[in-house]
Assembly symmetry: C2
Homo-oligomer: 254 residues x 2
């Protein structure tokens, strides 16, 4: 049967979902999207594949997925139709026609993640940003962040759970920015760790963030961090930072 292929971008708030990928034990973003597509197409002969398996509680400002559908839909109808069927914390941003060859995982050139934390979480921001550990040396964290640049074996910055042929990844850019929030939910300074890389392991960004926090509060040294980046046997040097600070913000395809 003839298939029609679409490349669709979406943003979502992760707090009420067990991550992107469909799984038996609870609601997922992909599950909600598939369900909406089934209603729209009046068929369950379809599939989706995301460019990133965001974890439970993690947000996306720009996730991309491929949809293989059994019928052709006008792009505006596809976007508006999905948005009318999806819950309010998932929004389709756009859709374009694609091909059978497009593979959102293999074809992504790089991805950018932002991790947000602040000294002052309020009732209005608590599920979108993380309370920072006390007494962080931000300049030291900036020095530490630079150690991640380039190609390394990130075996000490991953969580088991997904089989991967290699734990080597390349970090293209990393920056710890000081920003200011302005808006309904309050005005306050916050930090944003921006990381651009060719690929990421499970919980890699959150383990990088947790390690930089440990560095910033002097629980580990720059040498400890360098050793964890250089040598597989060192083990983890920081906690997994909480999911609500993490946003998938950009994906570049080849």
């Amino acid at each position: 049967m003839k298939k029609f292929y679409y490349q669709i971008s979406t943003e979502y708030r992760g707090q009420n979902y067990f991550g992107w990928q469909i799984q038996p034990r609870g609601k997922t973003i992909q599950g909600e999207i598939n369900h909406a597509l089934e209603k729209l197409c009046k068929s369950d002969d379809l599939k989706t594949l995301g460019a990133s398996r965001t974890d439970s509680g993690v947000h996306a400002k720009a996730q991309v997925f491929k949809a293989d559908l059994p019928l052709e839909l006008p792009l505006k109808g596809l976007v508006d139709g999905l948005n009318s069927l999806l819950p309010e914390d998932i929004k389709i941003l756009g859709a374009k026609a694609s091909t059978a060859h497009f593979h959102p995982l293999r074809d992504s050139k790089w991805k950018r993640y932002n991790y947000l934390f602040t000294d002052k979480v309020s009732p209005f921001s608590r599920d979108l940003i993380v309370q920072a550990p006390a007494l962080l040396d931000i300049e030291l964290m900036r020095e530490g962040a630079k150690l991640f640049l380039g190609t390394h074996d990130f075996a000490n910055f991953r969580c088991m759970g997904t089989d991967v042929p290699t734990t080597t990844r390349e970090i293209l850019e990393i920056e710890l920015k000081e920003l200011n929030s302005q808006g309904p939910w309050g005005e306050f300074p916050y930090y944003c760790l921006e990381i651009k890389g060719t690929g990421f392991l499970k919980q890699m960004v959150r383990l990088m963030m947790g390690s930089l926090w440990n560095l910033g509060r002097k629980k580990i040294t720059l040498d400890d961090l360098q050793a964890a980046i250089d040598k597989k046997k060192v083990g983890k040097v920081g906690p997994v930072a909480p999911p609500q600070g993490l946003y998938l913000t950009e994906i570049q395809f080849a």
Copy 2:
């Protein structure tokens, strides 16, 4: 038995509560606070009185209440103790010693409310701001807002439910501002209707907002709005705007 009196300020996110005031049918802000105070004081011989009865779903950046407690507590212990016992969407901002004579309703000189709306609600902002009606004439709304200034009988801008001796209230300042959000939840322009008044009737701000929307989309004229402000028999000239756009932002005591 000797009582100790405190004036306490709090901020809260309204979405999960049936408003400020204790009532039988569901969770309220006051109910949660009383419950926490009972634990802290190991007694239920206490009472609280808020300066404003915010409705179901309405937020506060600066609600104030009086607490009559059966024991004396250090101010920092009171604040930290309450925050450790309260849910994450209610936060105590500060406390000071008060007197038996203080009455947060009678002693408030003026209150300020902000109502927020925008052309572009996202999954990250949806419970903190309201999607604006299409095609609003903002300049016309600014003209309309000025009609509310001064002392008027707001009988056409109230919802029944609370007995009040008079429906006359004074609006001291009103302004429709264009602002920009910056932060984790996205960058987007939004509008803020700021209203400062000596007192407000039930749902008065939300009915003023709904009427200004109707003016902005040319469903009513400036004359219709003026008539509703001048004459009791005109009736409502707009819908009750949704609660998630409304914030109690400031209370000034005499």
